[in-house]
Symmetry: C2
Subunit: 193 residues, 2 copies
């Protein structure tokens, strides 16, 4: 699993072999079954997780059994609850696997040590946090400004391959529209074609 | 205007007098009339703006004349289009003043210089970016999971003083609900009381 991460990080950040070996020495590898949890709402998030294979999601569960998906994380992406990890506060989301997955993860303490001792990694994490912030800002803007149909079209454009891997009710939950609305939109689009 | 910023930054970040003077030497002070723009959609955002007095907002305008408010920034807060500032790409939002305001701003180039030469400022900006990311993540979760009424109640709790300073249609635009829905919610709440 680490070799998948190694290929990725060497493309993304300016790290030498010694620095990659230091990351490896602190990495924990995990295989996840479908629907296995890495974080449950109310727990403190202790890891930053890199997905080398499969698909994870972060979601918040409502008291009525509803699920609100904050993030899908396929292979070659990161997932965590950044605020819970940072502050040590209880998480407001769950993280689980939607497919059998392989991940590499680091504790907060080890991440601090690595970022403090590997300048290229610190620069990469800074970029990652900025990108995540832009992404959530943009998604918020979409959430408050687009129609349900526009939201769905934006999703298809941004994540063309996720549609085949994720059940439709989860796409609805990610977009913040009801299943019924999303089904209606898809029927209308099929008729148009 | 700078003195307002100086008081703020000394509370928030670990800066010595020399470092504050360095920031002052690169700061641009501006007074803004109500409805004066600091950024228009499509332009590249060139500044990070600190508000010492008044109230600014960032919003995106739809082709149909609709406005979608991404952020309200009262005194002692920052506003910018972070992605446009960072990448030099056209902004998807406007920034204007909702009240006569006083601001201090820095160009991207000067900010880079300051952050590179003042470790306490770099640490403060890192924290600011993280906080902003948490805030947008949380707001996105609210946008996709809460009812219109819950969104309004959350807004009142988080920003009790903004309600008196911002017209209701802008609160609706910030929450991503229609004016009619927001008026209905307020009427229902008044009747309950």
């Amino acid at each position: 699993m680490f070799s998948g991460f190694e290929t990725y990080i060497k493309e993304q950040a300016n790290l030498n072999d010694h620095e990659v070996q230091l990351m490896r020495s602190m990495a924990v590898e995990r295989s996840l079954r479908r629907r296995e949890f890495l974080l449950q709402q109310g727990q403190v998030c202790r890891y930053k997780i890199f997905i080398t294979k499969g698909l994870l999601r972060a979601y918040s569960a409502g008291g009525d059994g509803s699920e609100h998906i904050v993030q899908f994380s396929p292979e070659n992406s990161w997932i965590t609850d950044p605020e819970s990890l940072d502050k040590g506060s209880p998480s407001n989301s769950n993280i689980d696997a939607l497919e059998p997955s392989e991940v590499v993860l680091w504790t907060k303490k080890d991440l601090h040590y690595l970022a403090a001792n590997i300048p290229g990694l610190k620069a990469y994490f800074d970029k990652l946090i900025s990108r995540s912030s832009y992404m959530f800002r943009q998604r918020l803007l979409s959430a408050i400004s687009l129609t349900a149909e526009e939201k769905y079209e934006e999703f298809i454009k941004k994540f063309p391959h996720l549609l085949e891997r994720v059940p439709l009710h989860m796409v609805a939950s990610y977009l913040g529209v009801t299943r019924e609305t999303l089904s209606r939109i898809r029927r209308t689009q099929l008729i148009r074609k």
